[in-house]
Every structure is written in structure tokens, then in C-alpha cells.
């Protein structure tokens, strides 16, 4: 079966600094894929490369079986993205922005208008259609960015920190929508620092550190990989994603995190 997303030898350098090193990744269609890593690990760089916002220095990206380098436009038609900066045009209203995005993805005006209406209702933004986006709160902007990312019905959705700055009610709405998409066969690639959400939503998780993929698999596979004898001895112990993440990153970073007690002792 063709992977929804696959990379081989994906590398990105910024001068001498290697942000992403020789990454080989494969995401199957229909997966809710969580992409985790500490700050500066290379998550945003990877997602930018996968969505065409950053050119790789080396390697190959395939999306739905198409080479990104040679079929960029075709690939972009099939994907939706909520990038780090949200890519909103502040001086448009929400309706105008959705109409603009719909047209850019080749939707006809009636479909765009109909979908905009439904999305604004779903996102609870229908009462804000007269405001300019620049006047929206951060959470409202996130919801609008997500609405724009899905208006054309993408097969793959890339989300960079979609829950950052979003209140619990809005987060619930977003989760409901994302789960609905997965149920209908879409693939979602998500980065987030909120590990509880990733654990609840994602079927597969990858962990990146210092630009290298250091863990990849289903939650159960990752759990099995870091389980120790001590964990097995206590019946009913089930490691959370946060514990898995800390163990994986801790093992990788080794000595650096060994003696935190000796540092910042002056801090109250």
C-alpha cells in the first residue's frame, strides 16, 4: 500500500547546523500521527519541508505516492496545513479569507460559500464575520486557520501546534473535527507539546531529537520499547506518553540531564 507520507534521507542544513538529519519516515493512510520532540529538535523544520514551506537540502519526500519536488502543485491540492504562523491575512474578515482560500484551491464560489458557512458555524465563529482577522483572539485565529486548512477537503492534514493558546471548549471542538476526519479516511500529521492530547488522539507517534528520528511506532510499540523490568514487576503499570517521551529523550541526551539538582540552586 502506498504511504500517505514517506521521506527518505530527508535532510535540512542551515549553514553548518543540521536541523534534520537523514530522516526516513513513513505514515500510512488513515493514521493519526503524532510528531513529538523537545524544543529545537527539528519538528517545525520537518513539517515545513513536508508542506512545501521549506526546501530540503537533501532527500526525497513523497506524499500520496507523488514526489513533492516534481509534483508540488498536485501534492498541495491534496493537503491542508496549519503552520506555526497560521498564515492568516489579518485585514480580511473570516468569510473573505475562507472564500479566498477556497478559490485558491480551485473550489467553485457556491461550494466555497457553503463550506465557509458550515465551518464558521462549526467553529463557533459565525458571529464574528464582521471582524477583521487581526481583531480575533489567538484561539479564534487558530480555529479559523484550521477551518481554512480543511475547506478543500484535504486527504492529509498537517497541524503544527494546533492546540496552543486554544481554550478547553475550542480544543474539544477541534478534536471532534479531527477525529471525524480520521473516521472518514484522512491522514493527520500533528506536532504538539500537549502530550495528553497526542496520547488521546494519535494512533502512531514519532519522536525526533537533535534532528534525528529516535522512536517511531504505535503507542504500544513505543511503550514496549522503553518498559523496564521494574515496570513489568508492578502489575497494571501502563506508562503514559509523557513518561515514554521523557525516557526516550532522557536516554538520548544521557549525561546532560543527570544532575539537575546541582543547577540553579539559588532559585527559590
Amino acid at each position: 500500500m502506498t504511504s500517505a507520507i514517506s521521506t527518505s534521507g530527508l535532510t535540512r542544513r542551515f549553514g553548518d547546523f543540521v536541523a534534520v538529519k537523514n530522516m526516513n519516515l513513513s505514515v500510512a493512510p488513515g493514521q493519526f500521527y503524532g510528531f513529538l520532540g523537545p524544543n529545537g529538535a527539528g519538528k517545525s523544520t520537518t513539517i515545513k519541508m513536508l508542506t512545501g514551506l521549506l526546501a530540503p537540502t537533501a532527500g526525497r519526500i513523497e506524499v500520496l505516492g507523488m514526489d513533492f519536488a516534481t509534483h508540488a502543485i498536485e501534492v498541495k491540492r491534496q493537503i491542508g496545513v496549519v503552520p506555526e504562523g497560521m498564515a492568516l491575512f489579518g485585514r480580511l474578515t473570516a468569510t473573505e479569507y475562507l472564500r479566498f482560500v477556497g478559490q485558491m484551491y480551485g473550489l467553485d464560489r457556491a461550494t466555497t460559500a457553503q463550506r465557509s458557512e458550515e465551518l464558521l458555524d462549526f467553529m463557533n465563529l459565525a458571529g464574528e464575520t464582521r471582524k477583521l482577522i487581526t481583531d480575533f483572539s489567538h484561539g479564534m485565529q487558530k480555529k479559523l486557520a484550521l477551518a481554512a486548512a480543511v475547506i478543500h477537503g484535504p486527504k492529509i492534514l498537517f497541524l503544527d501546534e494546533p492546540f496552543e493558546g486554544v481554550d478547553a471548549i475550542a480544543a474539544g471542538t477541534l478534536k471532534q473535527m479531527l477525529q471525524g476526519m480520521i473516521a472518514r479516511g484522512a491522514t493527520i500529521f500533528l506536532t504538539s507539546h500537549v502530550l495528553e492530547i497526542v496520547e488521546r488522539l494519535c494512533t502512531h507517534v514519532a519522536i525526533i531529537n537533535h534532528g534525528e528520528l529516535i522512536a517511531n511506532g504505535s503507542l504500544e510499540e513505543l511503550r514496549a520499547g522503553v518498559q523496564t523490568q521494574a515496570d513489568s514487576d508492578v502489575p497494571g503499570t501502563r506508562l503514559t506518553l509523557e513518561e515514554i517521551f521523557i525516557r526516550v529523550i532522557g536516554k538520548e541526551d544521557g549525561a546532560q540531564n543527570q544532575q539537575p539538582e546541582q543547577e540553579l540552586s539559588w532559585l527559590g
Binding site: 512545501g52 498541495k76 497560521m86 489579518g90 485558491m104 477583521l132 539559588w266
Partner: protein, 586 residues
């Protein structure tokens, strides 16, 4: 971490923050270092060398800008004082005052800025904060020019009347302080009002109406005061000018001049009284300025949130949207084919929305037509008194078109600036970047076409019709200059973009290198245009030849434009990192 658990430590054993207050000197040094580091760090990015070269080149220009008026102010001061016409010093001081305050509005920053208000989060004393706010911007071109002029005036006065040197120095120092505080006061309050988008838009409209109104008032006042060449000034104007001269003596420039005049005549009490008046103004400006700063220092929340819509309005909105959907359905069903591709059409619609919501841009676009109307009215009256003023009319259309080109470069050389973080969308969506740029160019081209038409109509109806050959030559030149500008401007917009901040009255960040390149292109095109027209006149060649030459140049420019547009996707991809990084900055 040790010390974090309640059982292992008590509050008394917690390490305490330093109780030593940080000295003002330390704060000043740190902020000076910060500004220096920001400046140095800007030299590390892409295109930094070009920006540095522009900075180095701009210093001699700045020096000339400052030196020219300063030398003039010094010479006039010397002449006025040596001829015992001290009262005329008020005129010089008014000119300095007005230039100091109003040039600042259009002064853009080519360097890095940071929000000084963000310093309030540090343990900084209010007094120090006030001093920092006052000292920031003392090196701005208008301030440097103003101070330069006042120093030159002091020197001029001292040469003419050496005994008056200390008094002149004291007055000029106080007048400089008064100016600095006045501009700080005005801009700090303006920024307070402009922090909210709605107020900003309202203010822009008011400024536009005021600016246009003042031009008309000036025009009609001029007509009221002048019934013809050498005609006596009307009594109305005489009364008004007397009133203005009287008011002048109670305002800072007049007070400074009066104080000097009285001291020079040996009327010390009157001189001290005027000095006291000037001091009172200075303290008043300081007081109003610090009211604003105090609010800022203690933290304030300038809410942007507009009022919630009523249920009735929401229902109306919903109805409207339903009607829009129905209309869109019928439009989609019709066999009518769009002239533009959906991408270009969508981008064009977006650009129109942006243009209609940008007060300053609209203002700039109205100006060329407005200037033509004004000049037409003025030259109509000049025609009655001046020989050879017909030239003014003949070239009114051509001058208006050249002026329009200069106004439009702001849209052309930083065409992505207003898009901000939205620029990321262009790289994510299934589109060619050239479609985005083409839409922007089409809008600018449409604006140019409208402006040229309006300028033609205004100059033809209010002035005199220029010969058809000259009109065609001007249109051909405009086309050539526009195509040349967009060919270069499109590439520069991608290579060196700067975020456009709608809320800023001044210090809008612009690329120095872009400004220099834009100036070079505009000057070259204008020189070429005017040289051709002058040559036609001098050698008695028909303007049709000039038109032909410009059409050939325009055809070449079309070729250059198409090549640049063809390569725009590659340029965009090459500069994607820096472009998104710069425009996504908050």
C-alpha cells in the same frame, strides 16, 4: 531542584533577589548596549551588506540635509540681528518648529526598532524610563536637523552681537527642549489613539480631510487676498495676518524671538518674562507627555476587541450570506467564462479588500489627482500674471503622471509587506507565485490607469489640454516606467520584504537598499523621459517621435517584465526562508 520542596526549606531560607537598586547609569548602559547589539545583529542576515552600504551612503546625504538648512538658518540669523530686525527670528524659529514636527511623520526607519514600552517589565524607575523615552530618538534626522539649525542660529547671532551669545544659547537650548518635548508628547498620544484599528482608520480619514481641507482653504485664502497682480491685499486677509502675528508672540517660537529681541534692546524684565513663557510651555509639554508615560509605565491594556454584534445583526448577516451562496450558485452555473484564472482572480479580490482597508494607501493614491487639481487652480491664477505659464499647463499632465509613478513605488517595492504571516499561505497552496504577483501588478496597473485618466481629465478641464502627441508620449512613458518598476519591484519585494505595520505613524520599517534601488529606477526613468521631451522641444522634433521611442522602450520593458515574471517562482523559492521569517515576525 534543591529548595523547591516545602519541607526542605522555609521561606526565610529562600535566596532573596538582590536588594541593591540598579543605578540609572547601569540601565542606560544596558539599553545602549542592546541597541548596539540589535544594530550589529542586523548585519548578519541575508542582504545585510547591501543594507550596510545604504546606511553608509545615507550619512553624507543626511549631513547635507542637515547642513543646508543649518547654514541658511545661521546666515539669516546673522543678517536679522546685524540689521536690528530681531523680530524676524520668529519666522526662522517657526520654520524650524514646523519642519521638526512634521518631517518626523514621513521619516521611516531603515534600522531595527524595538518597543521601548516593553522595558517597563524590568525593575526600572519611572524617572529613568522617562529619561530613556526622552533620549530615544534624539538622533532622528528631524531632531538632528532641528538641533543643527538652532546651533547655527546661535553662531549667527553670536557673530552679529557677541554680547548676546550666552542669552541666545540659553534660548536656543530651551527652544530645542521645547521642540523635543512637543514632538514626544504628540507622538506618544497619537500612538495611544492609533493603538486601536478603528481609531486608526478614523484618524487617517480625519487627517486626509484635514490635509485636503487645508490645501483648499489655502487656495481660497490666496484668491481672497489677491485680486490680481500687484493688487492690494484684501482687508480680510490683513486682519487675519495681524491676528496671526499677535498670536505668534504667545507661542514658543514667538516667545523665544521676543525674549531675544527684548534682551537685545536692554529690556531685561520683558526678556525674562518671555523666557518664562517659553519655560512654561516646555514644562507643560513635559507634563502632558509624562501623563501618557505614567499610564504606560503602570501598565495599560489597549483593547482591540470591538463590541459584540446584536442577535438582529447576526440574523441579518446570516441572511446576507445565504443570499451570497445562492448568487454564487447561479454564477457558477452560468456558462460565462472568467477572464482571469481563479487564482489570480482570488488574489486580486484580496488585494482590493486590503487596499480599501488601508487609509494611508488610499490617501497616497488620492494625492496625485488632488495635486493636479490644486496646481491647475493655482496656475489658472498665475496665468493671469505670468508670462510663459502656459508651459506649466502643457506639462501638467506629464508632471502628474511622473508624480503618480513616485507614489506607486510604495506599493511595488514591498508588495508583500502588508500580507504579513499570510505570505506562508502562498507557499502552502497549490499555486504558482507568479499568479500572486501578477494579481498585485494588475491591481497596481489598474490604479495607474485610473490615476492617469483622472489626471488627464483634471488637467484638461481645469488647466489646458496638452497636445495629443505629448499625451500619448506621456502615456507611453508611464507604461515604460511602470513595467520597469514592477519588473524590479517584484524581485525586490521577494528578496528584501519588510512587514508593514498599519498602526505606525512613523518609523515604518523599510529596506534601505530597496529604497535606493527604487530611487535609482525612478530617477533614471524620469531623467530619460524629461531629457527626451526637452530634446524634442529644443530641436523642434514632434512629440510623436518621443511617443514612438517610449513605446519601443515599453515594448522592451514588457519583455523584461515577462522574463522576470517567468522566473518569479524560482526567486520566491530561493528566498522562501527569509521571506516567511521576516513577514511572520510579530
Amino acid at each position: 531542584m534543591a529548595g523547591l520542596t516545602p519541607d526542605s526549606t522555609s521561606m526565610s531560607s529562600l535566596p532573596q533577589p538582590s536588594s541593591q537598586p540598579v543605578s540609572s547609569r547601569q540601565h542606560f548602559q544596558t539599553i545602549a548596549w542592546l541597541r548596539w547589539r540589535i544594530f550589529v545583529n542586523t548585519l548578519r542576515g541575508k542582504g545585510a551588506v547591501g543594507e550596510l552600504v545604504v546606511k553608509i551612503l545615507s550619512y553624507p546625504i543626511l549631513a547635507v540635509i542637515i547642513l543646508g538648512p543649518s547654514v541658511g538658518a545661521g546666515i539669516f540669523s546673522y543678517l536679522f540681528v546685524s540689521q536690528n530686525e530681531d523680530a524676524y527670528l520668529a519666522i526662522l524659529l517657526w520654520v524650524i518648529f514646523l519642519l521638526w514636527q512634521f518631517i518626523g511623520i514621513s521619516t521611516s526607519a531603515t534600522g531595527p526598532n524595538f518597543d521601548i514600552a516593553s522595558l517597563t517589565r524590568f525593575p526600572i524607575r519611572y524617572r529613568d524610563y522617562l529619561l530613556i523615552r526622552l533620549s530615544f530618538g534624539l538622533m532622528d534626522p528631524p531632531t538632528l536637523a532641528g538641533i543643527g539649525c538652532l546651533i547655527a542660529m546661535t553662531i549667527g547671532i553670536s557673530i552679529a552681537a557677541p554680547s548676546m551669545a550666552p542669552w541666545a544659547a540659553l534660548l536656543m537650548f530651551l527652544f530645542a527642549a521645547c521642540n523635543v518635548l512637543f514632538s514626544r508628547m504628540i507622538y506618544s498620544w497619537l500612538e495611544r489613539w492609533l493603538a486601536q484599528r478603528r481609531t486608526r482608520e478614523l484618524f487617517t480619514m480625519l487627517l486626509l480631510v484635514f490635509s485636503l481641507g487645508i490645501q483648499f482653504v489655502g487656495q481660497f485664502a490666496g484668491r481672497l487676498g489677491r485680486h490680481g497682480h500687484h493688487a492690494p491685499v484684501s482687508p480680510w486677509m490683513e486682519k487675519l495676518s495681524h491676528a496671526l502675528v499677535t498670536i505668534n508672540w504667545f507661542l514658543p517660537p514667538g516667545l523665544a524671538a521676543a525674549s531675544f529681541q527684548n534682551m537685545h534692546r536692554g529690556l531685561a524684565p520683558l526678556a525674562f518674562a518671555s523666557l518664562g513663557g517659553l519655560l512654561l510651555f516646555t514644562l507643560f509639554f513635559l507634563y502632558i507627555f509624562q501623563l501618557r508615560l505614567k499610564a504606560e509605565y503602570h501598565g495599560e491594556n489597549l483593547s482591540e476587541a470591538p463590541a459584540a454584534l446584536s442577535a438582529k445583526t447576526l440574523a441579518k448577516d446570516r441572511k446576507q450570506r445565504a443570499a451570497q451562496i445562492a448568487a454564487a450558485r447561479s454564477a457558477d452555473a452560468s456558462p460565462h467564462r472568467q477572464f482571469l484564472s481563479p487564482t489570480v482572480s482570488a488574489c486580486l479580490t484580496k488585494e482590493v479588500h486590503y487596499l480599501m482597508r488601508s487609509g494611508p494607501k488610499l490617501y497616497a493614491l488620492i494625492m496625485p489627482v488632488f495635486m493636479i487639481v490644486l496646481i491647475s487652480v493655482r496656475t489658472a491664477s498665475l496665468r493671469q500674471v505670468m508670462v510663459g505659464s502656459s508651459d506649466l499647463h502643457t506639462f501638467l499632465f506629464s508632471s502628474g503622471c511622473a508624480y503618480t509613478q513616485m507614489i506607486l513605488v510604495g506599493l511595488i517595492y514591498n508588495s508583500l509587506g502588508a500580507d504579513g504571516p499570510g505570505v506562508q499561505f502562498y507557499f502552502m497552496a497549490p499555486l504558482h507565485f507568479r499568479d500572486v504577483i501578477l494579481a498585485k501588478n494588475l491591481l497596481t496597473g489598474a490604479i495607474l490607469a485610473i490615476e492617469v485618466t483622472l489626471i488627464y481629465l483634471a488637467s484638461a478641464f481645469l488647466g489646458a489640454k496638452a497636445p495629443l502627441s505629448l499625451v500619448v508620449a506621456t502615456v507611453a512613458w508611464s507604461l515604460f516606467a511602470f513595467l520597469l518598476n514592477i519588473s524590479v519591484g517584484n524581485v525586490r519585494s521577494l528578496i528584501s520584504p519588510k512587514g508593514y505595520e498599519a498602526g505606525k505613524v512613523r518609523r515604518q520599517n523599510v529596506s534601505g537598499l530597496n529604497s535606493l534601488i527604487c530611487l535609482g529606477v525612478i530617477l533614471s526613468a524620469s531623467l530619460l523621459g524629461s531629457a527626451t521631451i526637452v530634446a524634442c522641444r529644443f530641436f523642434d522634433i514632434s512629440y510623436w517621435m518621443a511617443a514612438l521611442a517610449f513605446f519601443i522602450l515599453a515594448a522592451i520593458a514588457v519583455g523584461i517584465y515577462l522574463i522576470s515574471l517567468k522566473n518569479i517562482d524560482r526567486v520566491a523559492m530561493d528566498h522562501m526562508d527569509s521571506l516567511t521569517l521576516e513577514l511572520c515576525k510579530r
